[in-house]
C-alpha cells in the first residue's frame, strides 16, 4: 500500500493511502490465480464477484470492472478503503497461504477511483422496466441504509431514505475522518445511490418527526431500520464530564461532519497540547490521528490490555504508530482530575497485567495493586465503544429489542412488527461497514419478497 510521507500527512486531512497506479493495479490483478472455486467471494458479506472484476482490471477493462463491482456493491469506493479485507475476502485468498494475498481492497478502490477520474461511465441507473410504484422507506443513510435503498431501487421500487442529520452518510460522514475516506468519494457514492432513483430526506428523525406507524400511513409498504450504533459509552469514572473530555462521537462529529478543523466553519473544537484517547479500536485510532492533525503535540492511546488484544485493524494501528501516536498499554483509567474551572488536568491510571483468558478468549487485564500513576493531559477522548441508539425503539411500541438495545430480527431481517425490517449496527451492535452493507442487501431481498407476497394475498 502506497502512503503519503508521515511528515506531510499529519499536517492536513487529505487522504493518507494513495492506492494503485494503473500499472500497479494491472500487475496486482495479474497475480490472481482465477480459482475455479473462488473462496474469496465467501469472505465478502455482499458477495462481490471478485475474480471477475480482478480479471477485468488485468485486461484493462476498467469500466467492466466497476460494473461488476456495482452489481452487488453500490459503495465500492468506500469498501475499498474501510473494509477489513484481511479478515474477509483476502483471508481466503489461496495466494495468502504461502505469500501475500491479492490486495483486493486496493484493487476495488482503484476501479472506483478510475470511474471518478474518467468521469465517463457513471453506471447509469438500472431502473427496471417493470417500475413498481411501490414506496419503500429506509431509516438511516449509513452503510446499511444506503445499500438497502440502492438494492430496492435496482428492483424498481420508489425508495426514500430518512436521515436525521443535515447530510447523508451516517457514520461514514460523522465518524470516519477524511484522511481515511475523502468526502468526494463519499459524495460520489451517495450520488450513485440517488442516481438509482433513491430520494434522501435529511433532517427527519424517525420516531419523532414521523413514527414508524406514520410511515405506513404515508403509504410506505415496508420499512428498513438502519439507524446504527451511535450511542456513546462512557467509563463511569470520576471527572468524566469535565471540560476537555469528549466522547469519540462528539470529537469526530465536530471534526468530520461539522468540519471544525476548517477555519471557515463555525463549529468549534478545542484541542490541548497533550491528548489522551482511551480505547483500542478503529474509532480510537481515528480520534488519535484527528487530534494530531488538529495540532496536539503529544497524543497517547490508552488501552487496558496489550497491543495484541486491540480490536483495531493492523493497518490502522500501524498508521497511528507511524504518525507518532504513543501507545500506553496495560493502562486502566480510574479518575479524571480537574482544575477549579472544571478543565481536565490529569488522568489517574492503574498499571495492569494480563491474567487468565476471559469469555472472549483474550487474557483478562488485572490491576496491579498500588500501581496508581497520573498522566498530565489537556484533552481526553473516550473511544470505548458505542451501543445501538435507543431512540427509535423507545418511540416504536412493539418493536422487540434485546437487553443491550439491539433490535431483534429473524433470519430474513424481519423485526417483531410486520413490514418492518432492520439491519446493521442497530441489530448487531457496533460492527463493520461491510457487515452493515451485507445486512442491508439481505433485508432488501426480504422486503421485496414480503411486498410481493402481500400483493398476492
Amino acid at each position: 500500500m502506497n502512503k503519503r510521507p508521515v511528515k506531510e500527512r499529519i499536517k492536513d486531512f487529505e487522504e493518507v493511502a494513495l492506492g494503485f497506479s494503473k500499472e500497479e493495479a494491472i500487475a496486482e490483478a495479474k497475480r490472481c490465480l482465477q480459482c475455479k472455486k473462488p473462496l474469496c467471494i465467501n469472505g465478502c458479506p455482499v458477495q462481490i464477484n471478485i475474480p471477475k472484476f480482478i480479471k477485468e482490471i488485468a485486461e484493462s477493462k476498467f469500466s467492466d470492472a466497476i460494473k461488476t463491482l456495482k452489481e452487488t456493491n453500490s459503495l465500492p469506493g468506500i469498501c475499498g478503503r474501510v473494509c477489513p479485507q484481511e479478515s474477509q475476502c483476502e483471508m481466503f485468498c489461496i495466494l495468502g497461504k504461502k505469500g501475500k494475498p491479492i490486495d483486493i481492497g486496493t484493487l476495488e478502490r482503484f476501479a472506483s477511483d478510475w470511474e471518478i477520474q474518467s468521469q465517463k461511465s457513471k453506471v447509469k441507473s438500472q431502473k427496471l422496466e417493470t417500475q413498481k410504484p411501490i414506496k419503500m422507506a429506509v431509516v438511516g443513510s449509513g452503510p446499511a441504509g444506503l445499500t438497502c435503498a440502492g438494492e430496492l431501487a435496482k428492483m424498481g421500487y420508489e425508495v426514500t431514505i430518512f436521515e436525521s442529520l443535515h447530510k447523508p452518510g451516517g457514520v461514514l460522514r460523522y465518524g470516519i475522518p477524511e484522511f481515511r475516506m475523502p468526502r468526494d468519494v463519499l459524495d460520489r457514492e451517495i450520488q450513485y445511490v440517488k442516481d438509482l432513483g433513491v430520494q434522501i430526506r435529511c433532517d427527519v428523525l424517525i420516531g419523532r418527526t414521523y413514527t414508524v406507524d406514520e410511515l405506513f400511513e404515508q403509504g410506505y409498504k415496508a420499512i428498513f431500520i438502519g439507524s446504527g450504533a451511535g450511542y456513546p459509552q462512557f467509563l463511569n469514572i470520576e471527572g468524566e464530564n469535565a471540560n476537555g473530555v469528549y466522547s469519540a462521537n462528539e470529537f469526530l462529529t465536530r471534526a468530520n461532519l461539522m468540519k471544525a478543523h476548517d477555519k471557515n466553519y463555525h463549529t468549534p473544537i478545542k484541542i490541548g497540547k497533550r491528548v489522551g484517547v482511551i480505547g483500542g479500536g478503529n474509532v480510537a485510532m481515528d480520534a488519535a490521528r484527528v487530534a494530531l492533525r488538529l495540532g496536539a503535540e503529544e497524543v497517547y492511546l490508552i488501552y487496558r490490555r496489550t497491543e495484541k488484544e486491540m480490536p483495531a485493524r493492523e493497518e490502522e494501528k500501524e498508521n497511528a504508530k507511524e504518525e507518532g501516536i504513543q501507545f500506553k498499554i496495560l493502562t486502566q483509567p480510574i479518575k479524571i482530575k480537574t482544575d477549579v474551572q472544571g478543565w481536565v488536568k490529569e488522568l489517574e491510571c492503574l498499571q495492569m497485567e494480563l491474567g487468565e483468558p476471559d469469555e472472549s478468549g483474550r487474557r483478562r487485564p488485572v490491576p496491579i495493586e498500588g500501581s496508581n500513576f497520573s498522566i498530565p493531559l489537556d484533552t481526553i477522548v473516550i473511544a470505548i465503544g458505542q451501543t445501538p441508539n435507543p431512540l427509535i425503539p423507545s418511540y416504536t411500541p412493539n418493536l422487540k429489542t434485546e437487553k443491550k438495545g439491539t433490535i431483534v430480527i429473524d433470519e430474513n431481517g424481519a423485526t417483531s412488527i410486520e413490514g418492518v425490517f432492520a439491519g446493521g449496527d442497530i441489530v448487531t451492535g457496533a460492527a463493520t461497514v461491510i457487515e452493515a452493507m451485507g445486512a442491508g442487501r439481505k433485508a432488501a431481498k426480504a422486503m421485496d419478497e414480503y411486498v410481493r407476497n402481500k400483493v398476492k394475498r
Binding site: S164, Y174, C202, D203, N236, T253, H266
Partner: protein, 279 residues
Amino acid sequence: MKPNQILNKKELAPSIKLFDIYAPDIAKKCLPGNFIIFRLHEYGERIPLTINDWDRQKGTIRIIVQEIGRATKELGNMNIGDVILNLMGPLGKSSEIDRFGKVVCIGGGVGTAVIYPIAKALKEKGNEIIGIIGAKTKELVILEDEMRKISSKCYITTDDGSYGKKGFVTDALNEIISSQKIDRVIAIGPIMMMKKISEITKLHSIPTIVSLNPIMIDGTGMCGGCRVRIGNQTKFACVDGPEFDAHKVDFDELLHRNNRFAEEEKDSCKLLNQGGKDE
C-alpha cells in the same frame, strides 16, 4: 410557502426576536417542552432552540431567540421570506402536564419564552398558575401579556427596578412560598437562577422542574456533548431531558460545561461583527 420559511418576525426586545416558521411536520407533532435544532448555512453550527408556540393548522412553529452567539445573531439578521437551511425536530421529551394544583412558573430572561407553552398547557389542564417573569431591565421583559392571561397572579422583577419589583425572581418566589402552599415549581432561565431557585424549593420540599440548555450537536443522543449530571447518573439532555428534577441537577458542572467554547464563540462573534467570512 417553502419548508423552513420565515413567515413572521418581530422584535420583542433589544436582541430578542420572535420568528414564525413554516414547518408543518414539526408543528403537527410538537408538545410543550420540545425543541428543534437549526443550521443556517453550510458553515453554520447546529443550535437547539425550544419551541415557544405552534399553529398546527397553519403548520407553523414559533421560536424566540436571544442573540448571544454567532448563529443566533445570524438568525436574528434573517427576515420574512428567508428560508432556514436545516430544521429538525421535534426533539426532547415533552413536559409532564398533569394536575398538580398550584404551580409557580418562573421565566428568567429569554427563559420566559420556554416556560410559556408549559404554563399554558398546565393551565389548560386545570392547574392554577402563578407566574414570575424576571429580567435585567424593563425593556427585556417579554411575553408579559401572554403570561398574565394564564396566571392567577403574575409577578415581575427587574434587576434594576425599572419595572415591576426591584430584585430577583427568587425574592418573588420567597414571598409566594411564605404565604401559601405551592405544589410545584417550574423554573427556566439562566443556570445560576435555576440553581438558586432549586436551593429555595429544596428547603421547602416543593417538587421543582428545570429545563437545561447544554451545548448540543445532533440532538439525538449520538454525540454525548449535552451530558448533564442528575443525581449520580449522567444523562443526555437531548433525549433524556431537557427537563429534569431540579433538586438532582449538578448546576455547577453545567455552568462549567457551557463555558467549554466561550473563547471560540467570542472570536467567532468578532469575525461576524467585522463582516468576516460569512455566507
